[in-house]
Protein backbone atom coordinates (compact mmCIF):
# COMPACT_ATOMS: atom_id res chain seq x y z
CA UNK A 1 0.00 0.00 0.00
CA UNK A 2 1.71 3.21 -1.08
CA UNK A 3 1.62 6.21 1.19
CA UNK A 4 -1.29 8.48 0.30
CA UNK A 5 -0.16 11.42 -1.75
CA UNK A 6 -1.60 14.87 -2.05
CA UNK A 7 -3.49 13.91 -5.19
CA UNK A 8 -5.41 11.39 -3.23
CA UNK A 9 -7.08 14.14 -1.31
CA UNK A 10 -8.46 15.57 -4.52
CA UNK A 11 -7.62 19.00 -3.29
CA UNK A 12 -5.27 21.62 -4.55
CA UNK A 13 -1.97 21.11 -2.65
CA UNK A 14 -2.02 24.77 -1.66
CA UNK A 15 -5.49 24.40 -0.29
CA UNK A 16 -4.16 21.46 1.65
CA UNK A 17 -2.29 23.75 3.92
CA UNK A 18 -5.37 25.78 4.60
CA UNK A 19 -6.02 25.40 8.28
CA UNK A 20 -9.75 25.74 8.13
CA UNK A 21 -10.29 23.22 5.36
CA UNK A 22 -8.05 20.59 6.86
CA UNK A 23 -9.62 21.10 10.25
CA UNK A 24 -13.05 20.66 8.75
CA UNK A 25 -11.90 17.54 6.97
CA UNK A 26 -10.36 16.29 10.17
CA UNK A 27 -13.58 16.87 12.08
CA UNK A 28 -15.54 15.04 9.40
CA UNK A 29 -13.13 12.14 9.47
CA UNK A 30 -13.26 12.07 13.26
CA UNK A 31 -17.01 11.80 13.20
CA UNK A 32 -17.00 9.16 10.54
CA UNK A 33 -14.44 6.91 12.08
CA UNK A 34 -15.94 7.05 15.53
CA UNK A 35 -19.47 6.34 14.48
CA UNK A 36 -19.36 3.40 12.11
CA UNK A 37 -22.82 1.93 12.18
CA UNK A 38 -22.95 -1.49 10.55
CA UNK A 39 -25.93 -2.92 8.72
CA UNK A 40 -27.34 -5.87 10.61
CA UNK A 41 -26.82 -8.12 7.67
CA UNK A 42 -25.76 -11.68 8.32
CA UNK A 43 -25.34 -14.17 5.55
CA UNK A 44 -23.93 -17.32 7.05
CA UNK A 45 -21.54 -18.70 9.62
CA UNK A 46 -19.56 -15.48 9.92
CA UNK A 47 -22.69 -13.70 11.04
CA UNK A 48 -22.48 -15.64 14.28
CA UNK A 49 -19.05 -14.18 14.91
CA UNK A 50 -20.36 -10.77 13.93
CA UNK A 51 -23.01 -11.20 16.60
CA UNK A 52 -20.33 -12.29 19.05
CA UNK A 53 -18.49 -9.06 18.33
CA UNK A 54 -21.54 -7.06 19.30
CA UNK A 55 -22.15 -9.15 22.38
CA UNK A 56 -20.89 -9.38 25.89
CA UNK A 57 -17.30 -10.46 25.63
CA UNK A 58 -16.08 -8.40 22.71
CA UNK A 59 -18.49 -5.45 22.62
CA UNK A 60 -17.76 -3.45 19.50
CA UNK A 61 -19.96 -0.70 20.94
CA UNK A 62 -16.92 0.52 22.85
CA UNK A 63 -15.66 2.00 19.59
CA UNK A 64 -19.01 3.50 18.82
CA UNK A 65 -19.65 0.86 16.19
CA UNK A 66 -22.30 -1.09 18.02
CA UNK A 67 -25.36 0.53 16.55
CA UNK A 68 -26.50 -2.25 14.22
CA UNK A 69 -29.14 -0.68 12.00
CA UNK A 70 -31.57 -2.86 10.15
CA UNK A 71 -32.08 -0.24 7.47
CA UNK A 72 -29.18 0.20 5.03
CA UNK A 73 -30.14 3.87 4.72
CA UNK A 74 -28.87 4.56 8.19
CA UNK A 75 -25.66 2.60 8.19
CA UNK A 76 -22.09 3.21 7.14
CA UNK A 77 -20.41 -0.16 7.06
CA UNK A 78 -21.59 -3.29 5.41
CA UNK A 79 -19.98 -6.34 6.96
CA UNK A 80 -20.50 -9.00 4.35
CA UNK A 81 -20.46 -11.82 6.84
CA UNK A 82 -20.75 -15.12 5.08
CA UNK A 83 -20.95 -16.78 1.74
CA UNK A 84 -22.37 -14.72 -1.09
CA UNK A 85 -24.19 -16.88 -3.60
CA UNK A 86 -25.24 -16.03 -7.11
CA UNK A 87 -28.82 -15.81 -5.99
CA UNK A 88 -27.88 -13.43 -3.19
CA UNK A 89 -25.39 -11.30 -5.13
CA UNK A 90 -27.93 -8.89 -6.68
CA UNK A 91 -29.38 -8.28 -3.25
CA UNK A 92 -25.99 -7.55 -1.75
CA UNK A 93 -25.39 -5.09 -4.56
CA UNK A 94 -28.77 -3.51 -4.03
CA UNK A 95 -28.17 -3.18 -0.34
CA UNK A 96 -24.88 -1.52 -1.07
CA UNK A 97 -26.53 0.87 -3.50
CA UNK A 98 -29.09 1.81 -0.88
CA UNK A 99 -26.47 2.90 1.59
CA UNK A 100 -25.63 6.60 1.62
CA UNK A 101 -22.11 7.78 0.93
CA UNK A 102 -19.52 7.51 2.39
CA UNK A 103 -19.95 3.78 2.76
CA UNK A 104 -17.47 1.06 3.58
CA UNK A 105 -17.47 -2.65 3.04
CA UNK A 106 -15.70 -5.24 5.15
CA UNK A 107 -15.45 -8.59 3.41
CA UNK A 108 -15.56 -10.91 6.40
CA UNK A 109 -14.51 -14.49 6.02
CA UNK A 110 -12.80 -16.57 3.39
CA UNK A 111 -15.96 -17.00 1.34
CA UNK A 112 -16.43 -13.30 0.82
CA UNK A 113 -12.75 -12.65 0.26
CA UNK A 114 -12.49 -15.15 -2.56
CA UNK A 115 -14.99 -17.96 -2.43
CA UNK A 116 -13.27 -19.73 0.45
CA UNK A 117 -13.67 -23.48 0.58
CA UNK A 118 -16.36 -23.28 -2.07
CA UNK A 119 -14.18 -21.65 -4.66
CA UNK A 120 -13.51 -24.78 -6.67
CA UNK A 121 -16.55 -27.01 -6.83
CA UNK A 122 -19.14 -24.70 -5.31
CA UNK A 123 -21.02 -23.80 -8.43
CA UNK A 124 -23.40 -21.40 -6.72
CA UNK A 125 -20.91 -19.38 -4.69
CA UNK A 126 -19.64 -16.02 -5.90
CA UNK A 127 -15.87 -16.19 -5.92
CA UNK A 128 -15.30 -13.14 -3.82
CA UNK A 129 -17.75 -10.42 -2.94
CA UNK A 130 -15.52 -7.85 -4.64
CA UNK A 131 -16.96 -9.13 -7.90
CA UNK A 132 -20.21 -7.60 -6.73
CA UNK A 133 -19.39 -4.63 -4.51
CA UNK A 134 -16.14 -2.75 -3.91
CA UNK A 135 -14.42 -3.84 -0.71
CA UNK A 136 -12.41 -1.70 1.70
CA UNK A 137 -11.16 -4.25 4.19
CA UNK A 138 -10.50 -7.91 3.52
CA UNK A 139 -10.73 -10.09 6.59
CA UNK A 140 -9.72 -13.71 6.04
CA UNK A 141 -10.60 -16.63 8.28
CA UNK A 142 -13.26 -19.27 8.32
CA UNK A 143 -14.81 -17.74 10.25
CA UNK A 144 -12.52 -14.97 11.50
CA UNK A 145 -12.33 -14.67 15.23
CA UNK A 146 -14.13 -11.71 16.79
CA UNK A 147 -10.79 -10.17 17.69
CA UNK A 148 -10.01 -10.12 14.00
CA UNK A 149 -13.22 -8.30 13.22
CA UNK A 150 -12.44 -5.72 15.88
CA UNK A 151 -9.04 -5.35 14.28
CA UNK A 152 -10.73 -4.87 10.92
CA UNK A 153 -12.80 -2.09 12.42
CA UNK A 154 -9.71 -0.46 13.88
CA UNK A 155 -7.99 -0.71 10.52
CA UNK A 156 -11.00 0.83 8.83
CA UNK A 157 -10.99 3.65 11.34
CA UNK A 158 -7.32 4.17 10.71
CA UNK A 159 -7.84 4.27 6.98
CA UNK A 160 -10.68 6.74 7.31
CA UNK A 161 -8.56 9.09 9.33
CA UNK A 162 -5.70 8.63 6.89
CA UNK A 163 -7.85 9.38 3.89
CA UNK A 164 -10.06 12.00 5.49
CA UNK A 165 -13.18 9.97 5.14
CA UNK A 166 -12.97 9.14 1.46
CA UNK A 167 -13.53 5.56 0.49
CA UNK A 168 -10.29 3.84 -0.34
CA UNK A 169 -9.78 0.58 -2.07
CA UNK A 170 -6.93 -1.76 -2.78
CA UNK A 171 -5.99 -0.90 -6.33
CA UNK A 172 -3.89 -4.01 -6.78
CA UNK A 173 -6.74 -6.28 -5.79
CA UNK A 174 -9.07 -4.39 -8.07
CA UNK A 175 -6.67 -4.91 -10.95
CA UNK A 176 -6.33 -8.59 -10.16
CA UNK A 177 -10.09 -8.93 -10.14
CA UNK A 178 -10.29 -7.15 -13.45
CA UNK A 179 -7.85 -9.68 -14.88
CA UNK A 180 -9.94 -12.50 -13.57
CA UNK A 181 -13.06 -11.07 -15.12
CA UNK A 182 -11.27 -10.74 -18.41
CA UNK A 183 -9.98 -14.29 -18.17
CA UNK A 184 -13.45 -15.58 -17.50
CA UNK A 185 -14.79 -13.60 -20.42
CA UNK A 186 -11.96 -14.98 -22.56
CA UNK A 187 -12.81 -18.50 -21.46
CA UNK A 188 -16.32 -17.88 -22.57
CA UNK A 189 -15.10 -16.71 -25.97
CA UNK A 190 -12.83 -19.74 -26.29
CA UNK A 191 -15.53 -22.15 -25.17
Amino acid sequence: MPEPTAQDYQLDPELQSSVILTSLEWVKGWGRRNALWPVSFGLACCAMEMMAVAATKYDIDRFGAGVFRASPRQSDVMIVAGTVTHKMAPRVRRLYDQMPDPKYVIAMGACTVGGGPYVKHGYHVVQGVDLVVPVDIYLPGCPPRPEALIDAFRKLQHRISEKRGDTLRFDAVEKNREDQRRKAAGGEAAG
Binding site: G31, N34, A35, T56, D61, R62, G64, P102
Partner: protein, 368 residues
Protein backbone atom coordinates in the same frame (compact mmCIF):
# COMPACT_ATOMS: atom_id res chain seq x y z
CA UNK B 1 -38.71 35.76 30.94
CA UNK B 2 -40.83 38.81 30.40
CA UNK B 3 -40.43 40.02 33.94
CA UNK B 4 -36.73 39.33 33.82
CA UNK B 5 -36.44 41.17 30.52
CA UNK B 6 -38.41 44.11 31.80
CA UNK B 7 -36.14 44.32 34.79
CA UNK B 8 -33.11 44.24 32.56
CA UNK B 9 -34.45 47.03 30.39
CA UNK B 10 -35.22 49.17 33.37
CA UNK B 11 -31.82 48.69 34.91
CA UNK B 12 -29.87 49.60 31.78
CA UNK B 13 -30.12 53.06 30.31
CA UNK B 14 -28.44 51.88 27.12
CA UNK B 15 -31.10 49.28 26.43
CA UNK B 16 -33.89 51.74 27.11
CA UNK B 17 -32.95 53.61 23.98
CA UNK B 18 -33.79 50.69 21.75
CA UNK B 19 -37.31 49.76 20.61
CA UNK B 20 -38.86 47.23 22.98
CA UNK B 21 -40.17 45.00 20.18
CA UNK B 22 -36.70 44.47 18.77
CA UNK B 23 -35.37 43.66 22.20
CA UNK B 24 -38.03 41.06 22.78
CA UNK B 25 -37.34 39.58 19.38
CA UNK B 26 -33.62 39.32 20.00
CA UNK B 27 -34.21 37.91 23.43
CA UNK B 28 -36.64 35.32 22.16
CA UNK B 29 -34.36 34.23 19.34
CA UNK B 30 -31.49 33.96 21.80
CA UNK B 31 -33.63 31.97 24.18
CA UNK B 32 -34.75 29.71 21.36
CA UNK B 33 -31.20 29.11 20.22
CA UNK B 34 -30.14 28.41 23.76
CA UNK B 35 -32.98 25.97 24.27
CA UNK B 36 -32.18 24.25 20.98
CA UNK B 37 -28.56 23.70 21.92
CA UNK B 38 -29.52 22.79 25.46
CA UNK B 39 -32.09 20.21 24.42
CA UNK B 40 -29.89 18.81 21.66
CA UNK B 41 -26.96 18.32 24.00
CA UNK B 42 -29.23 16.89 26.65
CA UNK B 43 -30.73 14.52 24.08
CA UNK B 44 -27.26 13.52 22.95
CA UNK B 45 -26.20 12.77 26.47
CA UNK B 46 -29.38 10.80 26.96
CA UNK B 47 -28.29 8.67 24.05
CA UNK B 48 -24.98 8.19 25.80
CA UNK B 49 -26.78 7.35 29.03
CA UNK B 50 -28.90 4.87 27.17
CA UNK B 51 -25.99 3.14 25.52
CA UNK B 52 -23.88 2.99 28.63
CA UNK B 53 -26.85 2.01 30.76
CA UNK B 54 -27.77 -0.71 28.32
CA UNK B 55 -24.17 -1.84 28.41
CA UNK B 56 -24.26 -2.15 32.19
CA UNK B 57 -27.46 -4.15 32.03
CA UNK B 58 -26.12 -6.42 29.33
CA UNK B 59 -22.83 -7.27 30.99
CA UNK B 60 -20.77 -5.26 28.55
CA UNK B 61 -19.28 -1.79 28.54
CA UNK B 62 -20.78 0.48 25.92
CA UNK B 63 -19.11 3.39 24.16
CA UNK B 64 -16.04 4.50 26.09
CA UNK B 65 -13.43 5.46 23.51
CA UNK B 66 -14.69 8.74 22.11
CA UNK B 67 -14.04 11.44 24.64
CA UNK B 68 -13.85 10.77 28.37
CA UNK B 69 -15.96 7.68 29.07
CA UNK B 70 -17.45 7.99 25.61
CA UNK B 71 -19.21 11.24 26.46
CA UNK B 72 -18.48 12.68 23.03
CA UNK B 73 -19.95 9.67 21.25
CA UNK B 74 -23.12 11.57 20.39
CA UNK B 75 -21.04 14.33 18.84
CA UNK B 76 -19.30 11.85 16.56
CA UNK B 77 -22.63 10.30 15.64
CA UNK B 78 -24.16 13.68 14.90
CA UNK B 79 -21.17 14.86 12.85
CA UNK B 80 -21.15 11.67 10.86
CA UNK B 81 -24.86 11.88 10.17
CA UNK B 82 -24.46 15.51 9.13
CA UNK B 83 -21.76 14.62 6.65
CA UNK B 84 -23.65 11.69 5.15
CA UNK B 85 -25.17 11.67 1.73
CA UNK B 86 -28.77 12.80 1.82
CA UNK B 87 -30.90 10.34 -0.09
CA UNK B 88 -34.48 11.02 -1.02
CA UNK B 89 -35.96 7.97 -2.75
CA UNK B 90 -36.95 8.80 -6.29
CA UNK B 91 -40.49 7.61 -5.76
CA UNK B 92 -40.91 9.57 -2.54
CA UNK B 93 -43.11 12.61 -2.10
CA UNK B 94 -40.26 15.05 -1.80
CA UNK B 95 -41.90 17.96 0.01
CA UNK B 96 -43.53 15.82 2.63
CA UNK B 97 -40.39 13.74 2.97
CA UNK B 98 -38.40 16.88 3.80
CA UNK B 99 -41.02 18.37 6.07
CA UNK B 100 -41.72 15.31 8.21
CA UNK B 101 -38.63 15.25 10.44
CA UNK B 102 -38.92 18.98 11.06
CA UNK B 103 -42.46 18.61 12.31
CA UNK B 104 -41.53 15.70 14.53
CA UNK B 105 -38.64 17.58 16.07
CA UNK B 106 -40.50 20.87 16.36
CA UNK B 107 -43.35 19.17 18.19
CA UNK B 108 -40.98 17.94 20.85
CA UNK B 109 -38.77 21.00 20.94
CA UNK B 110 -41.30 23.84 21.17
CA UNK B 111 -42.69 22.25 24.30
CA UNK B 112 -39.48 23.23 26.11
CA UNK B 113 -40.52 26.89 25.84
CA UNK B 114 -43.18 26.60 28.50
CA UNK B 115 -41.36 24.22 30.80
CA UNK B 116 -40.09 25.94 33.95
CA UNK B 117 -36.62 24.64 34.70
CA UNK B 118 -36.62 26.40 38.05
CA UNK B 119 -38.55 29.13 39.77
CA UNK B 120 -38.73 31.82 37.10
CA UNK B 121 -36.36 30.03 34.73
CA UNK B 122 -38.85 29.74 31.91
CA UNK B 123 -39.02 31.20 28.44
CA UNK B 124 -42.78 31.66 28.30
CA UNK B 125 -44.64 31.43 31.57
CA UNK B 126 -48.10 30.70 30.24
CA UNK B 127 -51.41 30.21 31.93
CA UNK B 128 -52.15 27.28 29.65
CA UNK B 129 -48.67 25.80 29.73
CA UNK B 130 -49.72 22.20 30.35
CA UNK B 131 -52.35 22.37 27.66
CA UNK B 132 -49.82 23.76 25.21
CA UNK B 133 -47.25 21.04 25.92
CA UNK B 134 -49.75 18.25 25.49
CA UNK B 135 -51.12 19.64 22.27
CA UNK B 136 -47.68 20.35 20.83
CA UNK B 137 -46.51 16.84 21.49
CA UNK B 138 -49.49 15.48 19.60
CA UNK B 139 -48.25 17.27 16.49
CA UNK B 140 -45.55 14.64 16.28
CA UNK B 141 -48.02 12.12 14.96
CA UNK B 142 -48.59 14.28 11.88
CA UNK B 143 -44.90 14.27 11.13
CA UNK B 144 -44.68 10.54 11.58
CA UNK B 145 -47.52 9.74 9.25
CA UNK B 146 -46.09 12.16 6.72
CA UNK B 147 -42.76 10.38 6.98
CA UNK B 148 -44.31 6.97 6.54
CA UNK B 149 -46.48 8.01 3.65
CA UNK B 150 -43.92 10.08 1.81
CA UNK B 151 -41.21 7.41 1.99
CA UNK B 152 -43.23 5.19 -0.30
CA UNK B 153 -42.01 2.12 1.50
CA UNK B 154 -44.32 -0.50 2.87
CA UNK B 155 -42.47 -0.93 6.12
CA UNK B 156 -42.64 2.81 6.65
CA UNK B 157 -46.35 2.93 5.94
CA UNK B 158 -47.02 0.11 8.33
CA UNK B 159 -44.86 1.77 10.96
CA UNK B 160 -46.65 5.06 10.68
CA UNK B 161 -50.02 3.32 10.75
CA UNK B 162 -49.06 1.68 14.00
CA UNK B 163 -47.77 4.99 15.29
CA UNK B 164 -50.99 6.80 14.55
CA UNK B 165 -53.12 4.12 16.13
CA UNK B 166 -50.94 4.10 19.19
CA UNK B 167 -50.40 7.84 19.62
CA UNK B 168 -54.00 8.85 19.10
CA UNK B 169 -55.16 6.22 21.55
CA UNK B 170 -52.64 6.99 24.23
CA UNK B 171 -53.25 10.72 24.06
CA UNK B 172 -56.43 10.03 25.99
CA UNK B 173 -55.11 8.34 29.12
CA UNK B 174 -52.17 10.74 29.02
CA UNK B 175 -54.32 13.84 28.90
CA UNK B 176 -56.85 12.53 31.39
CA UNK B 177 -54.15 11.59 33.88
CA UNK B 178 -52.74 15.09 33.55
CA UNK B 179 -56.25 16.44 33.96
CA UNK B 180 -56.45 14.75 37.34
CA UNK B 181 -53.54 16.90 38.47
CA UNK B 182 -55.15 19.99 36.98
CA UNK B 183 -58.27 19.31 39.02
CA UNK B 184 -56.09 18.94 42.08
CA UNK B 185 -54.03 22.02 41.48
CA UNK B 186 -56.72 24.17 39.93
CA UNK B 187 -54.40 25.64 37.31
CA UNK B 188 -52.78 24.85 33.97
CA UNK B 189 -49.78 27.01 34.72
CA UNK B 190 -46.80 24.74 35.26
CA UNK B 191 -44.95 27.13 37.57
CA UNK B 192 -47.99 27.45 39.80
CA UNK B 193 -48.40 23.71 39.88
CA UNK B 194 -44.85 23.31 41.16
CA UNK B 195 -45.16 26.07 43.70
CA UNK B 196 -48.19 24.32 45.15
CA UNK B 197 -46.13 21.20 45.69
CA UNK B 198 -43.38 22.87 47.72
CA UNK B 199 -42.93 22.44 51.42
CA UNK B 200 -42.20 18.77 51.76
CA UNK B 201 -42.18 15.42 50.07
CA UNK B 202 -45.75 14.76 51.24
CA UNK B 203 -46.88 17.78 49.29
CA UNK B 204 -45.81 16.36 45.95
CA UNK B 205 -48.86 15.54 43.94
CA UNK B 206 -47.96 11.91 43.56
CA UNK B 207 -48.36 11.48 47.31
CA UNK B 208 -51.59 13.43 47.70
CA UNK B 209 -54.07 10.64 47.97
CA UNK B 210 -54.45 7.29 46.25
CA UNK B 211 -55.92 8.65 43.04
CA UNK B 212 -53.03 10.92 42.31
CA UNK B 213 -50.72 7.99 42.97
CA UNK B 214 -52.55 5.84 40.43
CA UNK B 215 -52.62 8.76 38.00
CA UNK B 216 -48.82 8.89 38.17
CA UNK B 217 -48.59 5.35 36.88
CA UNK B 218 -51.23 5.73 34.19
CA UNK B 219 -49.44 8.89 33.09
CA UNK B 220 -46.10 7.10 33.10
CA UNK B 221 -47.35 4.18 31.05
CA UNK B 222 -49.16 6.39 28.57
CA UNK B 223 -46.01 8.50 28.37
CA UNK B 224 -43.91 5.48 27.47
CA UNK B 225 -46.41 4.57 24.78
CA UNK B 226 -46.59 8.04 23.26
CA UNK B 227 -42.82 8.18 23.23
CA UNK B 228 -42.70 4.87 21.33
CA UNK B 229 -40.36 3.49 23.96
CA UNK B 230 -40.12 -0.23 24.57
CA UNK B 231 -42.23 -2.19 25.33
CA UNK B 232 -44.37 0.03 23.11
CA UNK B 233 -41.81 0.56 20.35
CA UNK B 234 -44.02 -0.94 17.68
CA UNK B 235 -43.80 1.90 15.16
CA UNK B 236 -40.09 1.22 14.76
CA UNK B 237 -40.04 -2.39 15.88
CA UNK B 238 -36.70 -3.45 14.51
CA UNK B 239 -37.32 -7.17 14.32
CA UNK B 240 -40.66 -6.66 12.59
CA UNK B 241 -40.60 -3.48 10.53
CA UNK B 242 -36.88 -3.01 9.81
CA UNK B 243 -36.85 0.56 11.14
CA UNK B 244 -40.49 1.54 10.99
CA UNK B 245 -41.51 4.92 9.69
CA UNK B 246 -37.96 6.22 9.25
CA UNK B 247 -36.73 3.23 7.25
CA UNK B 248 -35.92 5.39 4.24
CA UNK B 249 -34.40 8.33 6.05
CA UNK B 250 -30.68 8.92 5.87
CA UNK B 251 -28.11 11.17 7.40
CA UNK B 252 -29.25 14.40 8.90
CA UNK B 253 -32.96 13.81 8.47
CA UNK B 254 -32.67 10.60 10.38
CA UNK B 255 -30.64 12.44 13.01
CA UNK B 256 -33.48 14.88 13.47
CA UNK B 257 -35.92 12.02 14.03
CA UNK B 258 -33.52 10.53 16.49
CA UNK B 259 -33.05 13.82 18.26
CA UNK B 260 -36.77 14.47 18.32
CA UNK B 261 -37.32 11.12 19.94
CA UNK B 262 -34.87 11.79 22.72
CA UNK B 263 -35.99 15.39 23.11
CA UNK B 264 -39.50 13.99 23.54
CA UNK B 265 -38.21 11.67 26.25
CA UNK B 266 -36.67 14.59 28.12
CA UNK B 267 -39.74 16.76 27.67
CA UNK B 268 -42.07 14.12 29.03
CA UNK B 269 -39.73 13.36 31.90
CA UNK B 270 -39.71 17.06 32.75
CA UNK B 271 -43.47 17.14 32.57
CA UNK B 272 -43.84 14.07 34.77
CA UNK B 273 -41.40 15.52 37.28
CA UNK B 274 -43.28 18.82 37.33
CA UNK B 275 -46.74 17.34 37.52
CA UNK B 276 -46.15 14.58 40.01
CA UNK B 277 -42.74 14.77 41.62
CA UNK B 278 -42.67 18.34 42.83
CA UNK B 279 -40.64 19.82 39.98
CA UNK B 280 -37.63 21.67 41.36
CA UNK B 281 -38.75 21.21 44.93
CA UNK B 282 -36.07 19.23 46.75
CA UNK B 283 -38.65 17.81 49.15
CA UNK B 284 -37.21 19.34 52.32
CA UNK B 285 -36.32 22.90 53.29
CA UNK B 286 -32.78 24.01 52.38
CA UNK B 287 -31.05 26.85 54.26
CA UNK B 288 -30.04 28.79 51.16
CA UNK B 289 -30.65 32.23 49.73
CA UNK B 290 -33.42 32.59 47.22
CA UNK B 291 -31.10 33.13 44.26
CA UNK B 292 -29.03 30.09 45.09
CA UNK B 293 -32.14 28.03 45.75
CA UNK B 294 -33.32 28.75 42.27
CA UNK B 295 -30.28 27.12 40.70
CA UNK B 296 -30.22 24.29 43.21
CA UNK B 297 -33.84 23.73 42.18
CA UNK B 298 -32.74 23.47 38.59
CA UNK B 299 -30.29 20.75 39.52
CA UNK B 300 -32.93 18.97 41.59
CA UNK B 301 -35.29 18.97 38.63
CA UNK B 302 -32.57 17.63 36.37
CA UNK B 303 -31.89 14.91 38.92
CA UNK B 304 -35.52 13.86 38.85
CA UNK B 305 -35.50 13.91 35.07
CA UNK B 306 -32.39 11.76 35.11
CA UNK B 307 -34.07 9.21 37.35
CA UNK B 308 -37.14 9.08 35.12
CA UNK B 309 -34.99 8.70 32.03
CA UNK B 310 -33.07 5.92 33.66
CA UNK B 311 -36.29 4.11 34.52
CA UNK B 312 -37.35 4.38 30.89
CA UNK B 313 -34.04 2.97 29.73
CA UNK B 314 -34.27 0.24 32.32
CA UNK B 315 -37.70 -0.78 31.10
CA UNK B 316 -36.60 -0.72 27.51
CA UNK B 317 -33.74 -3.12 28.00
CA UNK B 318 -35.69 -5.50 30.20
CA UNK B 319 -38.99 -6.19 28.52
CA UNK B 320 -40.04 -7.79 25.26
CA UNK B 321 -42.25 -5.85 22.91
CA UNK B 322 -46.04 -5.87 23.05
CA UNK B 323 -48.14 -6.88 20.12
CA UNK B 324 -50.23 -4.19 18.47
CA UNK B 325 -53.61 -5.53 19.62
CA UNK B 326 -52.33 -5.89 23.18
CA UNK B 327 -51.17 -2.32 23.08
CA UNK B 328 -54.65 -1.19 22.14
CA UNK B 329 -56.16 -3.46 24.78
CA UNK B 330 -53.95 -1.95 27.42
CA UNK B 331 -54.94 1.55 26.38
CA UNK B 332 -58.69 1.23 26.08
CA UNK B 333 -59.45 -1.41 28.65
CA UNK B 334 -56.91 -0.69 31.36
CA UNK B 335 -55.38 2.76 31.24
CA UNK B 336 -58.38 4.75 30.06
CA UNK B 337 -60.81 3.45 32.74
CA UNK B 338 -58.23 3.88 35.44
CA UNK B 339 -57.38 7.42 34.43
CA UNK B 340 -61.06 8.31 34.39
CA UNK B 341 -61.38 6.80 37.84
CA UNK B 342 -58.49 9.02 38.91
CA UNK B 343 -60.13 12.21 37.63
CA UNK B 344 -63.46 11.40 39.27
CA UNK B 345 -61.75 10.33 42.45
CA UNK B 346 -59.67 13.47 42.64
CA UNK B 347 -62.72 15.63 41.96
CA UNK B 348 -64.45 13.93 44.87
CA UNK B 349 -61.33 14.44 46.95
CA UNK B 350 -61.37 18.16 46.20
CA UNK B 351 -65.09 18.35 47.04
CA UNK B 352 -64.38 16.61 50.32
CA UNK B 353 -61.66 19.10 51.07
CA UNK B 354 -64.11 21.95 50.40
CA UNK B 355 -66.51 20.49 52.92
CA UNK B 356 -63.82 20.19 55.58
CA UNK B 357 -62.95 23.18 57.77
CA UNK B 358 -59.89 25.10 56.63
CA UNK B 359 -56.68 23.59 57.84
CA UNK B 360 -53.62 21.58 56.90
CA UNK B 361 -55.55 18.45 55.92
CA UNK B 362 -57.97 20.34 53.70
CA UNK B 363 -55.10 22.10 51.97
CA UNK B 364 -53.26 18.82 51.48
CA UNK B 365 -56.33 17.17 50.00
CA UNK B 366 -57.09 20.21 47.91
CA UNK B 367 -53.63 20.29 46.46
CA UNK B 368 -52.63 23.82 47.33
Amino acid sequence: MHTWLDGLIESSSWLQGLPAGLLYLVAMVAAGAFLLIFSAVLAGETVWLERRGAGRMQARIGPNRVGPQGLLQFLADALKLLAKEDIIPSSADKTMFRLAPIIVFAGAFVGFAVIPFGYGIVVADMNVGLFLVLSLTSIEVVGVIMAGWASNSKWAVLGSMREVAQMVSYEMPLGISALAIVVLGGTLNLTDLVVQQSGGVWNWYVFRGPFAFIAFFTFGTAMLASLKRAPFDLPEAESELVAGYHTEYTGFRFAIFFLGEYAGMILFSLLAAILFLGGWDPGFPLPLTEGLLRWVGFLVLMGKVFILLFVMIWIRWSLPRFRIDKVMYLCYKVLLPWSIVCVVGIALQVLLADALPDGVIADWLMGR
